[in-house]
């Protein structure tokens, strides 16, 4: 059981690398979706005997539906409508961002054991994977030009936050977690509208052009 849990954490971090390194938007979206689907397995794998099954199931199925299906589907639909396929010329190139991501992951794994946590005793890989995923999301947001990739960066960041939240899943009432998922859904929805407005205004999704706006 523990090996499978560890394998899920390792796959989550490997998907971080994949998302950082690929330039095709469809591949990036699928990577983020696969990461969301993997995360939805974790509440089940990490569940101890004490917590009630209903809570865990709701959390897991909710995460699968929102992170693995609904949001990726929305973004795929958005790139089809805007007809873009690739991230061309990111601000930080693919190889440097991959190396930066690797450095972040190494630091996360090196220092996470030194962090004082309110709930020790969860799986040892949980905190470093969460920190690595948050770091990857931040990197994607600041280093890419296309609005769609930035939205995916936010999605990955949110995956990391969800992973960190699992640390507290024993006390957190399901409503708070549902609220987090709903927040994310609303945020992606708003970003979708913004993407369309940028696309209509400039007929491209390059966020650099926003800095040329005057009133």
């Amino acid at each position: 059981m523990s090996t499978w849990t560890e394998l899920v954490f390792v796959l989550v971090v490997v998907l971080d690398f994949f998302v950082l390194a690929s330039s095709r938007l469809k591949a990036v979206i699928r990577g983020a979706a696969a990461q969301g689907a993997l995360l939805s397995l974790l509440p089940l794998l990490l569940a101890t005997g004490k917590v009630e099954l209903g809570h865990v199931l709701v959390l897991s199925i909710g995460a699968l539906l929102v992170k693995g299906v609904a949001i990726p589907w929305l973004i795929l639909w958005a790139i089809r409508e805007a007809s873009i396929r690739r991230e061309v010329e990111p601000i930080v190139g693919f190889v440097p961002s991959l190396i930066l991501g690797a450095v972040g992951v190494a630091l996360a794994f090196a220092f996470s054991s030194a962090m004082p946590l309110p709930m020790p005793g969860k799986h040892a890989d949980l905190v470093p994977s969460a920190l690595s995923t948050v770091w990857t999301g931040l990197l994607l947001i600041v280093s890419r030009r296309k609005a769609v990739t930035q939205v995916i960066g936010f999605l990955v960041l949110e995956n990391g936050v969800f992973l960190f939240g699992l640390l507290l899943s024993d006390f957190m009432p399901a409503m708070v977690e549902a609220g987090v998922l709903l927040d994310l859904f609303a945020a992606v929805f708003v970003m979708g509208i913004v993407i369309f407005d940028i696309n209509r205004e400039f007929s491209s999704l390059d966020t650099e052009k926003l800095s040329a706006l005057r009133d």
């Binding site: 090996t3 560890e6 394998l7 390792v10 971090v13 490997v14 690398f17 390194a21 693919f94 190889v95 991959l98 190396i99 991501g101 690797a102 992951v105 190494a106 794994f109 090196a110 054991s113 040892a124 470093p128």
Partner: protein, 305 residues
Amino acid sequence: MIASILLRLLYLVLFLALPPLVLGVVNRVKSVFAGRQGPPLWQLYADLWRLARKGAVYSRTTTWVFRAGPVVALAAVASAGLLMAFGGSPAAFSFGGDFVLFAYLLGLARFATVLAALDTGSSFEGMGAAREVTFSSLAEPALFLCLATLARATGSLSLTGMLGPALPDAWSHAAPALLLASIALFVVALAENARIPFDDPNTHLELTMIHEVMVLDHSGPDLALILYGASLKLFLFGALFVRLALGFPVQGLAGVGVFLAGIVGFGVLVGVVESTMARLRLVRVPQLLVGASVLSAFSLVLLLR
């Protein structure tokens, strides 16, 4: 004791005799995918025999460096085979840190080939040499990080110890890290042996070639040495990958059988990759190699924690 020595001898004989057959397996898989009948499995033996009986042509601009290239390359790769623990049985020679010597014997082989290519004075071969050196400098960290992961997981610094009886134990407590390391090692094996997606061993077009361009000026027995050396190198990487991926305990003759089945499986895997993937654009090659390095570095981080 005598059985152990005989087993090592058997592995060395297999190492010297079988490599062309592995390339035959790769080519057969590619033919099946393409719907062709394909050359016979022993085609490379026939090619080597034909080339060995021919005379060699040397350009007047070349020196002894050009003639030494194929010989040094083959000798270096064959000596690297002495350090390899085939199928988990002890290597012919082993000492602490011999994996560094292993990696740099392969490096010496490449260096000799590159020098011979530069010695011809052809700009075309110079370009191929530059590409080969660039990509192998990116593949080397990935290889070393994989071997360091193995060393950390098994607590041994020689290839015999890394691939020996400690490997199954390492799989039982560090499976995810070793899995990542084997994937990275497979990518390195494809890059080092100039297979698709890094290089296409079939073409002789200047835009696509990396390794093949360097051996264009060699002919006759020299070319035979180069082809044989390349197949030995593929076999070595195959042996490393197979032992790492199939890390369960087997001994004696059963181990030889498992090892040979694994090598054939490696040939089939390479053939499937070559049939289903296109060659990468040249600018994407460093990206994949850095990706392999990052994967193996991550596997090492998982173990160091």
